[in-house]
Subunit: 438 residues, 4 copies
């Protein structure tokens, strides 16, 4: 975890204190269920919850001190709780194994992390929709291979991003469902020492599903799918970040990351406004993607479990969720405040002297009876002149001055082919698909 | 693609002929829609389908020869089709861009590949259920960290695998839905030159969804999610393969990959029956996982598209699906015919001289009034002797001969704690969760 | 292996025939050594080499047919050779294990693949040096964050690439040395059935080192390092490819992939010359990188070997080397014929109206006694006007017209700060470092 | 960074204080060189070093507070130093760019991290050699595919590991040389504002090479190679860790991670000694490997640099080196104190009733004139009885009682084939290769 790429709410999920709180809830709910089943006295569960109602602070240092002796984190925690609650606490954890607590806790943490990430996505989607609607009809050149192709609108670019992150949201919901399971099934998952109804009770209380069949642990294909999904979301972040970086290039400059009016660029060079936020997002995306493979390698644990997954999860549990949370929030901020320059978009659109319309003229000529070969030759010879002038000449003007062209098409007919509206006529259709009916 | 790790049906999906057939379907359906919209003559679509009804062979070499001249695969294909169909074919592809055909074709291929993989998973699930039920009550030692823990059944191990692959099936359904979209939207996705209703028609005919908003291409987050999902499934394959490899170790030998009675092991050593199929599966899982990261890196295409994704997909499209198909089928065969040795499982269970029951005796002693410290000491001193004898001594017999123990528990009470049934009492519950009510 | 991304020499290395030829050499050299040691008759080795001297064709189909019966590739090969050579051939392979042949063969293949790749790098380095010297003093704007910074030369960009690929060459030499080892040590590497001198003899004949200690196999950390190195080289390819893609953008257009004079871009749009080769290289780099992780996962084989690495190597052995060979050759071609536009570079350099020189003016003002705050304000107010004019105004002219500025600096002094030569004065130093003394 | 997987010396390298100390050294050495060149007063360098000689504490909080205002880390640092040193400090950093400091600092950190890792490897190699020599002639069964093959010695297993980590050491030396370069070349690497001799001076003082040609940054192929090398080393750690995990399995139990005599396993089960350290190492290896791909993706920075690499390095710089340092030290501890059970090794060797010798008997029979088919039948029928008895019967005894066998071989001749020494005769040769002449 790198502090500068962390936000408080997500980070708080992964503190020792947060973990201990979840452990307590699991143990207390389990004790409750055991009491209902008559395995332990009802007073035991009551004592736990009574203490909890006092909203006690968790003394992490004290628990750590006990662990230094017992060499066992769950036992240390139980010992400390017993010291606080008193004798009744000895009924806690009966028939359970440490992994029941650890894995169910991880499920709670990842589910809560998912909720934060889902909210992050919602915020991003809202911003994308707002800016997309704002620039729904702002024309800009569409580029394939980095080369000018045909016009689109800036709103369409953002609508594409919206659709992509909406898909990411759905995927994250699936991933959340995949990891939000509860296992309270004992040493090798057979419920030998604990009734399955305890698991059901704890699951219900914590908003988790019951793990249908566990070993000592919750199977790690669930977590692999979860982290793989985060890797996909990170890649979508990289895509939008890359778009912004391209748009901010000196030669393009159709949009820029926000800078405050008083803010200095680099010393004396006012043009030196760098897309550092989106470059940063590109790097963060690499990290979140980098956590996918360790998560996949964690699946093939030996027999009923080995503990190789544990160290991996100590890294990627916090690191992947905290980094992605930060990245989504940063991206939302970038889009929210993105400086968009429609005039420059228009200027770039025009810089090829109207070459983006050459195809339509070609088609019009053939429809007017010119052979395809001739039509191509006519358009090409004018287009080449525009091209060689680096956009100083205008294709429209050249065509209107070309007698072979005007033999087939009137100036008005030629001009009609230089109509941006032609390219934008289905923007409404697409927006309706993405955002629903206006 | 490595031929020895390929099966015909999946491989056939990725041949040039299969691709050209899908291209034709896309073009013909599109022409049909264009005819309905009055853009092209109805006779054009009719001519295409009439030719198609003759079930014509696709002359791949002829198309390649044209491509060698035109340097453009889709134009080469269209030219060849026109040669076959005649003049009416010139109305094909009107307003479309190559990517419309290529990307929609890939969607069809991946959707069909998904269908094969889903069928593979169904076959695997059926075999897992059959073998799980067969060994539902076959006791075997559960192991954590590779060390004997407490008893489970072999059926439970297979039930766990069943639940895992059932999850994989659900994930693959999600992934299939993610990539099964159709884009017929022109050069930069604006429908400038083609009506969106063409896309809707083609999508419906091919069983695809409509891509809500495309650029020149279908966005690659969809494919990233698809290949990431294959990577998760591969990891689950690795897990079950690793289990078999462990079980077949000389010292464990609780199960073996099938070998025919007449089959020689290695020359004179009859014990040399190697788990080569599951070792192979372990390697194949690495490959399918290895394709995840390139797919994730494909997401961030520049602007409305660059073509860097294309070469990646030429590799991983076939390689990931063909390899996973092969691996699933191989795994199904391994489980189907797996030689299971219940006697050896029992022997391994017993080899620790009953130490797996020590915890229950400890609990019984404390419940009989012995202090926890004394109880631990009593069990421990007998357990240590069994341990040091490497299982030659029996914990049960030692305990029954220990006067301090028998002062608290009768021999019958001690014996009762050595009951395997205690560990297996919830197998039914778990099976009902996994396979539904019997 | 994707045929369109393959070149003949590298592909030939990985054919069954090539493999069988290497197998023969290993077996014949080993038989020779065994004969020298008196283990087998000298006539046995002679018979093998006599047959080999006839330059016999390898009948792959015949060997495959035998393998279909024996289920063992090395035995099938030996059987076929025996059929050709006659009775003396029965002395082949004595005391050896299949892995001795397979792993030593892989070492030969990877060493030969390395030689091809080293030659590829040499060709690339030669082209880079030629083009670097050609454009040693061609000024172009240096960009950080995609934003104009200060001038460099195009030759410097290529010198950087040269230095990077020279490092790659050194790394590949290390990687080659790492995998070029010979193991002829028997079933578990103990030389129980074969004298270590056989290994030494075969190693010397094949130009390999002796594996100091093998298990059944050559340890896979060697191969991991090899493929990791290919992944690094691929990443360097991606870097240079990305540079070209950026330079070819419509708005930048400082360089372009070669197109022949008669070659059409896309239909009527003459500007539509796409950097498809370097985009393709970007994708190929992803693939070669994708093979790194499976190679790393291959290291931890169980005990004296398991066969999980084998399937991985059947993919990545050919795929990584063939793809990288193709990519290096393609990159060499791109650089060799790259169209470089110095005028456009100059135009882009100038497009910020001289803002790139603003820092030097600032410094000159302070050195002339203006306070740093005032100097900043003076430069800034003129720079902002240039910036807002999108380069239409000239910073030099504005400064010369600013009385507060001219109070401190003469027009000549100001002009001196707009000297490109200032930025290029150490190009020679750098070239000498990279290419050696001129 | 996960504190429990961290060691102090390596962690200390990555603290803000350590970074600032290196920054100071870079700046002071550079000022020194600038003074030698007459660019700044000699007193400036003297003032800096004089202050440094007082061994001043670095007030990280104060620097952070300045950064909160300036939004620039290097400027904040320079400002703080100037506050401490006084007016002379204003000559620091002249002509330099932030990246000169940052990248050279990273080079120093990675070089120092390499030195720690090299020392870690030396410690591991020493332990491996000691334990290898100790068990040079301890027979144990060699296993391929997890199945008993032929005898090796435990010392050979460790010699293999020694050779592997010796290779890792060489690789790390190469990687260290690759990243240990100094760049002091200004905004875009042209030395426009700083003499190359400054770079040479700083490099010499810090024990770095001069970067032959940099952009704004040191090229990232160097770092990619570095982290890829760490990934290979991690994979070798995983291999040895996996070996220990296998050996500690209940059914194998030929070696165990150390536990102190008084240490409890799991509650009442004395056999429950889990290989948790090596399982942990397996997980840590996954993490270090996971950092390779982000490092490879960092290579293709845009033009003269973008800052996407920076966030990646904030994670993997510390995380990869700290984790690998911890893992190497842990592995060294595991091997140092590994409990090795030669009796159990012998018992496992014998458990197949001598089947490991069956091949030699087969060969002896054929050499005694029995046809290969008959010899195979004779050995096979006895071997199968041993196999079916699960090692209860002895192959040697059965063969000596088989009249057809004794018709060809005397009991002494048969016994001679059951000689372990046959397999161990070249252990000396191998040890001499790995450890040099005794």
């Amino acid at each position: 975890m790198v502090p500068r790429y962390s936000r408080p709410a997500m980070t708080a999920l992964w503190t020792p204190e947060a973990r201990f709180r979840i452990w307590f809830e699991i143990e207390a709910h389990a004790t409750e269920a055991l009491a209902d089943l008559g395995v332990v006295p009802k007073s035991a569960a009551d004592a736990l919850w009574r203490w909890w109602d006092t909203n006690p602070a968790i003394d992490v240092a004290a628990i750590d001190a006990i662990e230094a002796v017992t060499k066992h984190d769950v036992i240390a925690f139980l010992t400390w709780v017993a010291e606080q609650v008193g004798d009744e606490a000895r009924f806690m954890h009966q028939g359970m194994t440490s992994s029941d607590v650890l894995d169910t806790c991880l499920a709670v943490q990842l589910a809560r992390a998912s909720d934060i990430l889902l909210a992050d996505l919602d915020a991003l989607l809202a911003v994308l929709e707002r800016r997309a609607r704002e620039h729904k009809m702002t024309p800009t050149i569409g580029r394939s291979h980095g080369i000018h192709a045909e016009p689109v609108t800036f709103g369409l670019k953002l609508a594409e991003a919206h659709a992509e992150f909406a898909r990411c949201r759905t995927r994250l919901e699936h991933a959340r469902a995949d990891i939000a399971t509860c296992a309270i099934s004992g040493a090798v998952g057979t419920f030998a020492n604990i009734d399955p109804r305890v698991e059901e009770h704890v699951a219900a209380k914590l908003g988790l599903s019951v793990e249908p069949v566990s070993t000592q642990v919750i199977p790690r294909d669930r977590h692999a799918m979860f982290f793989a999904t985060l890797g996909v979301i990170a890649s979508s972040i990289e895509r939008l970040a890359t778009e912004v970086r391209h748009l901010q290039r000196t030669e393009v400059l159709e949009a820029e990351e926000y800078f405050s009016p008083g803010q200095k660029g680099s010393s004396a060079m006012p043009h030196k406004r760098n897309p550092v936020l989106t470059e940063n997002l590109t790097g963060l995306a690499r990290m979140v993607r980098g956590y996918v493979t360790p998560a996949l390698e964690n699946v093939a644990l030996w027999h009923e479990r080995d503990i190789s997954h544990s160290s991996v999860e100590r890294y990627i549990g916090p690191d992947a969720t905290i980094t992605l949370d930060f990245a989504l929030a940063r991206l939302t901020g970038v889009i929210d405040k993105l400086l968009v320059y429609p005039e420059r978009m228009q200027k770039n659109l025009d810089r090829m002297g109207g070459l983006v319309h050459s195809q339509r003229v070609l088609l019009a000529l053939t429809q007017a009876g010119v052979s395809r070969e001739d039509a191509y030759r006519l358009v090409q010879r004018n287009a080449m002149r525009v091209w060689e002038s680096d956009g100083a000449l205008s294709l429209l003007e050249l065509l209107k001055a070309d007698e072979e062209v005007t033999a087939a098409l009137t100036p008005e007919q030629i001009e009609a082919k230089f109509d941006l509206g032609y390219h934008l006529k289905h923007v409404d259709t697409i927006f309706a698909r993405v955002f629903g009916a206006a």
